[in-house]
Each structure stands twice: as C-alpha cells, then as structure tokens.
C-alpha cells in the first residue's frame, strides 16, 4: 500500500488491550482515509443502540493519505465517532503536527474503545504503543498538560489532550493539540473524557513514507507548495489571519449578530477585523506543520480587563462567536475567550453560540434568574461571560452551568422554551457564517451536512463567493450569493469535494489552489490510484452517502436536513436586508441530483450501485 500505511491501532481501554490491524486495501480505495475511512470503520463495527458516552463507544483518530508529505494543507487529521453533542455521526478536523507524526510512526489511525479504570494516556513512540497512567494530569488545563507531557516525553513529542471540560462531560468539549489547535466540533473531548483518556502522545523515530511514485510526487509537491504559498488568499491569511476579511463579511451580511437576530453590525468591520488583531495584539504568526500559509496567530493582550499572556490567538470563528454574536465589539475579550476555551478544552463555536442563545433567552424572559442562579445575562457583558459563565460551564456548576454545558438544542429542550431561536442544524451549533448574507447555497450545505451545520463539510462558502471554480469538470457557475439559482447543482459538486477534503484531511484554504487534475495527480503519485475526474468525484459522493447511512441508523431522516426558524428568518440590515431563501426548493433539487430519497434521506439503491457501494447496497432497507 502507498501513501497510507494500511495499519491502525485498536485500543480497548477497559481490557488494556492494544492490537495492530491491517485494514482491507479496498476500504482505502473506496473511502480514502480521514473521516471517510473512519465512517467505514464506524459503520462496520458500530453498535447504534449505544449511548454516545457508553464505554463501548468508538473514538476514532484517522489520517489522510497525504499526512507527512511536507505539503501545505496536508497536515490535518480527523477525529470521529458518535457525537456526544448531537447523538449521531460526528467528525472533526484538526490541523497542527499530530497527523504527520502518527504517519511517520507507521500508523494511519487509532480506534479507541472501552473505559480505563483510572486516568490514562496513550503513548506512541515509533511502532511501540503503550497505555500509561495519567492521574497527575487529570484536572489540569490543556496548556499545563501539554507543557508537562512535553517535559516528560520530549519537546518533539506531539500531544492531543482534553481539558477539564472533557473530563466533566461538557457536550461541546473538544480535543486540543499542542495547546492551540483543536479537533473542535461535535464534542469528542467529552467522549475522550468518558473513557478516562487524558491524552495521546506521539513521537516518530524516523520520517519514512512510501509514495507510489516518489519522483512524480516530489515534483508535484514542490509545484503545489509554490502555488499554494504564493497565492493571494494565502498571503492575506498569513498577514492577518482567518479574520482577515471579516470586514467584507460584515458588509455582505455574512457575520451573525446577537444570536443571529441580525446579520449586520457595521462597527464590527473595523473593531474585530484581522488587521485590527494584527495591529493591536499580534506577536507572531504560526501554522500547521509544513504549511507555508501560516494562518494561525500568537497574541498578547498586555493590559485591561481582558489581559492575557502571550499564546494562541483567536481565529475568525472565535472572534465572531465571542464578539458580535454576544453583542460585543471587544477584541481583547475574544483573545481571552479563545485562550480560556482552549485551556478548558471547549469548542468556541458551540460554546459561544450556546451563551448567545442564553443571552437572548434571558432578554426574552424565557430564562429567568431562577435558572441562572441569580445571574443576569446581558448582551456584551464579557466580564460575566469570561469570569463567571465559562468556569461555570466547565464545572457544570449549579443550574446554569449544567444547562449550558449541554449545548443550545438540549438546553432549549430542557428549558422547554427557546428552540426556535437556537441557531443549529442536527444539534450542531452553526458556524459564524450567515447564509442570508454569505449565500443561500451555504444554507443548503448546512442543512444536508451529516454532522450538522458546518462550514468545512464542503467548500460551498468559497464556491459562492467566487473563490472556487472547476472548469475541468464543467463547474463554471457565476453564482449570486442571494439567489437559489444553481445552488443545488453547485452543492452536489461541493459536497463531493468536501468529502474528499475531509477524507484526505486537506485544509480548505490550501485546497483553493488545487485543481481537479492536481488532485488526480496527488492520488496517483502518492496512493497509486489511476482515477479520472468522475471516479474522483464518485469517491467523494461515496463518503457523503456513507455518513448519511450511519445517520439513518441513528434514526435521522430527510426531515432532519433542516435549519432552525432563526436561521431561516429574513436577513436584517445591510446588504442582506430581507434576504430570504427557500431551503425546501434547493433541498428537493439537491436530493434529485444526488439521488437521495427525500423521506428517508438515504441514497437510493441506484446511487449506491453507481458509486460501487455494494456492501452498503446489500444492507440498505427497502425504500
């Protein structure tokens, strides 16, 4: 096997058993790696009657075929399983240094089951894998845990850790890599915590890769690195981070305000923009391993109520989730919020969205001082958010902390009020891109995404703004964001490309410079696949279908491909004033193009047969 190693590590924490398994090569060819291969493993082995935090629940870490290749954008990895936040399929992508290091050790991934009696960690060094006690790290934040682990295992070791949020079962707890990068979404920190697994530590002894065509691969790698690193978008991201174009987002109506009650707040354009972050707080730039884009920030807020020492800075999502979404324009507060959430091990999107929802619930009187333990939740009161609410959520303290630690959908359900103004799909809080301004196709993309509302499930956001087009496959639409025209057709291609990105574990920013012929050449020179464009897209569609089959096993249907009323309300303010999309119309067209049964939400038998998914076809219920 080329590219991938074919080997995964199975770990049963209950029994303390570790085994190395070689997966069928056919699975790689069909589902690529990353979240696609994880989905195949999950479908084959999953017990769908289990609660998400049951000891037997699977927690999967999976690389793509290009990890370790020294290619910009290729150093990401997937974490996957049944989401503790949503109760169905979830996957989360994480950049940084972990994926290449694991590949250099000779492994594609890990499948962790069971529950350790005491806090433990998984230590991988070269091809040696061990379970070690981790009592001394339990209760510590991710920054301190990372520092101690590097002190113990060497600074070149790469770590994935949970913080107190994961230990305490906060439903949107995440997994933090090297203290700054996050497998952020879907709550896998809670799953890891439920297993008493504090950390993974990996360190390679040599950098060995086996591409199918080493010479061709090297030529392609150099060419792509040059193109990716020199692209205009890359230079913008390098200069001012992922919030570099927040200013454009504000004016187009893409930036949600006060729990999505509005999508225009002009002052935010200057106050929260990436250039402002650079000018006021940036100390240096950083990035994932081998990536020349370097979109990540290191910041320091020297003084004021939200002073924070030098460390990982906020990305766009954090800036908006703890900025406009909560009615605040305080950029320093977003820096501190990001650091606190990373240290606690919590997803800033779900956390910010859940707090913003609570602020609106309090304003409406749906949430009273009785449920808030006497606290007032007011828009823009960032001192209360950072000093009181975040610690309360992490500890699931008293009524309010325990309520918000469940995420917005479950909190509204428990309260019996406020569901309509949650901003989520399938239980996953929506990211900080508002389809009313960002583009109606994004609404469709959010609705049909298997893990729930997600802007990285596919590249629709970029497709609609005009930053992606693929003339090689006839994908050459000139799209108007505030229109349904051609959005279903665009989404049909976009979901396939997104599935490829997430299975190949490739960064969306870097992928903007990769053409379809480049992708084909990558798969050929690295994995040895002789794909044409149609076979390539078919692979993407297979992964998209597979995740829907998994969700069907959890009882989800076409009706779950939906957005809440708040997200479907007309836009208010700015260029997206009164913007209103017809989700049902786009969805019906998308289902038809993708050969999905509208009722069950499952791919049709014809779709599975066309895609070569014969195992799944044989097990598909009657339609």
């Amino acid at each position: 096997m080329h590219g991938n190693t074919g080997k995964i590590i199975n770990i049963d924490l209950s029994a303390g058993l570790i085994s190395i398994e070689t997966l069928p090569e056919e699975w790689y060819r069909l589902y690529i790696g990353g979240s696609g291969l994880a989905a195949k493993i999950f479908l084959e082995r999953g017990n769908f009657a289990l609660e998400p935090l049951a000891p037997e629940a699977m927690l999967i870490f999976m690389n793509g075929p290009f990890a370790g290749l020294k290619l910009s954008g290729a150093s990401r990895g997937s974490v996957a399983g049944c989401s503790p936040l949503t109760g169905h399929w979830g996957d989360s992508s994480c950049g940084g240094y972990f994926a290449p290091e694991l590949r250099y050790c000779g492994f594609d991934g890990l499948v962790v089951t069971g529950r350790s009696i005491k806090p433990s960690l998984i230590h991988i060094e070269g091809d040696s894998v061990a379970l070690l006690p981790a009592d001394e790290y339990w209760g510590l934040g991710t920054e301190e845990t990372t520092r101690l682990l590097k002190g113990r295992f060497g600074k070149e070791s790469r770590t994935m850790t949970i913080g107190p949020a994961g230990e305490n079962g906060v439903k949107f707890a995440n997994i933090i890599h090297e203290g700054q990068n996050a497998a952020g979404r879907a709550g896998f920190g809670a799953l890891m915590g439920s297993k008493n697994l504090k950390a993974l530590v990996v360190k390679a002894q040599e950098k060995k890769l086996a591409p199918a065509d080493p010479e061709g691969c090297e030529t392609l790698r150099q060419e792509l690195n040059g193109r990716i690193n020199e692209a205009l978008a890359s230079s913008v991201l390098r200069e001012n981070g992922t919030a570099a174009n927040l200013i454009g987002g504000v004016y187009s109506g893409d930036v949600p305000v006060k729990n999505w009650s509005s999508n225009f707040w002009e002052e935010a354009a200057e106050a929260l923009n990436g250039t402002t972050l650079t000018e006021k707080y940036l100390t240096r730039r950083t990035g994932c391993r081998y990536c020349g884009i370097a979109c990540k920030r290191i910041v320091e807020v020297k003084e004021g109520p939200f002073a924070v020492s030098e460390g990982g800075g906020p990305e766009y999502e954090t800036i908006v989730a703890f900025g406009t979404l909560m009615g605040s324009l305080d950029l320093a507060a977003t820096c501190k919020a990001g650091r606190l959430c990373n240290d606690f091990g919590m997803d800033t999107i779900s956390c910010g969205a859940t707090i913003a929802w609570a602020m609106e619930a309090f304003e409406r009187g749906d949430l009273t001082c009785e449920e808030t333990d006497g606290r007032e939740l007011n828009w823009g009161d960032m001192a209360t958010v950072l000093d009181v609410l975040l610690p309360a959520i992490v500890r699931k303290e008293e009524k309010l902390g325990a309520l918000l630690a469940e995420g917005s959908r479950a909190a509204a359900g428990r309260l019996g009020k406020g569901f309509a103004y949650t901003a989520q799909s399938k239980g996953l809080e929506a990211p900080m891109h508002d389809p009313r301004g960002g583009g109606y196709g994004l609404a469709l993309s959010y609705a049909v995404s298997a893990r729930g509302a997600c802007h990285v499930a596919d590249p629709m956001l970029f497709v609609e703004m005009g930053a992606r087009y693929y003339p090689e496959i006839g994908f050459d639409y000139v799209l108007t964001p505030q229109s349904e025209e051609n959005k279903a057709a665009s989404a049909a291609v976009s979901v396939a490309l997104g599935a490829i990105e997430n299975s190949a574990c490739f960064c969306q920013f870097a992928d903007a410079e990769v053409t379809i012929p480049d992708w084909l050449a990558l798969f050929k020179t690295v994995a040895g696949y002789e794909w044409d464009a149609e076979e390539f897209l078919k692979a993407g569609r297979r992964v998209f279908y597979l995740k829907r089959i998994i969700n069907s096993r959890y009882g989800l249907t076409g009706q779950d491909d939906d957005l809440t009323l708040r997200m479907r309300a007309p836009g208010s303010g700015g260029e997206a004033q009164d913007a209103f999309f017809d989700l049902e119309k786009m969805k019906a067209c998308f289902y038809e193009l993708m050969k999905i049964d509208p009722e069950s939400g499952l791919p049709t038998k014809a779709a599975l047969a066309d895609s070569g998914m014969f195992d799944e076809l044989a097990r598909l219920p009657a339609q």
Partner: protein, 139 residues
Amino acid sequence: MQYWKDSQEAVTAITRLFESVSHDPELGESMKKVNQLILFDYSESGPGCAIWVDTRNGKYEFGAGDPPGAPDLIMSLSADDAHLSWSNKLNPVMAITRKKIRVKGSATGLLKLAPKLKKVAVIYEQVLKELGWEDKIVK
C-alpha cells in the same frame, strides 16, 4: 476593447473617478486608511495605460503612468475589466480566482476597500455622465 475607444479614455475616466472620490468625505477617509501606493496596471490594453493612487502617510495623490516609487500593491487587469470593476459589475474574488485580475503585493488595503465598491460605483456612474459617456454605463 469593448468599452473604450482607446486607452486614453480609460485613463481619463478613472483618474476623474479618483478625483471625485477625494471629494467624498467617507470614501476619501477610507482611501487614506489603506495607506498604500497602489498601481492599477491596465497596460495590456495599451501603452501607458496605468493609474496609481498614493495614500501613504495621510496623502491622497493619484496620476497616470509610472508611480512615484515601488508600489505596495499592483493590480493588473484589462481596461475593460477595470471599467466593470469600478461599475461594481465584476466580482473581485471571482475575477482574481479566474485570473482576470492579477494581484501582486499586500492585499490588506484591497480588502478594506472592497466593501466600498458599491458607493464608488455610484460616483463612477456620475463621472461617466459628466464626461458625456452615458453609453458606457453598464446596467
């Protein structure tokens, strides 16, 4: 060229646009915040067809031909696409992706300006009317 008789027409219209923008308090201020020397290189549409605008250190100066120093940002596009762009009829992201606009240098200023294109387009239409070039207005 589809919209211009010759390259001088493009230079006339676009330098006049920059002059009008300088009289608009909001846009004038926005331009100064860009704090860059930008060269709009339309030279593929004809010799000398280039316009620069210098907003470094609180200045607001512009002219045709060679810029007064090394530009912080060079935007290369045809004079026809420039016309569409100032008319707000060309999605700049799409144009860059499709290589209709080539950008060299720091695009920070460009991003700050992009949201103002709608207002610039209103002024540009007025400029075309003042020049008696209503026929060039893109609807």
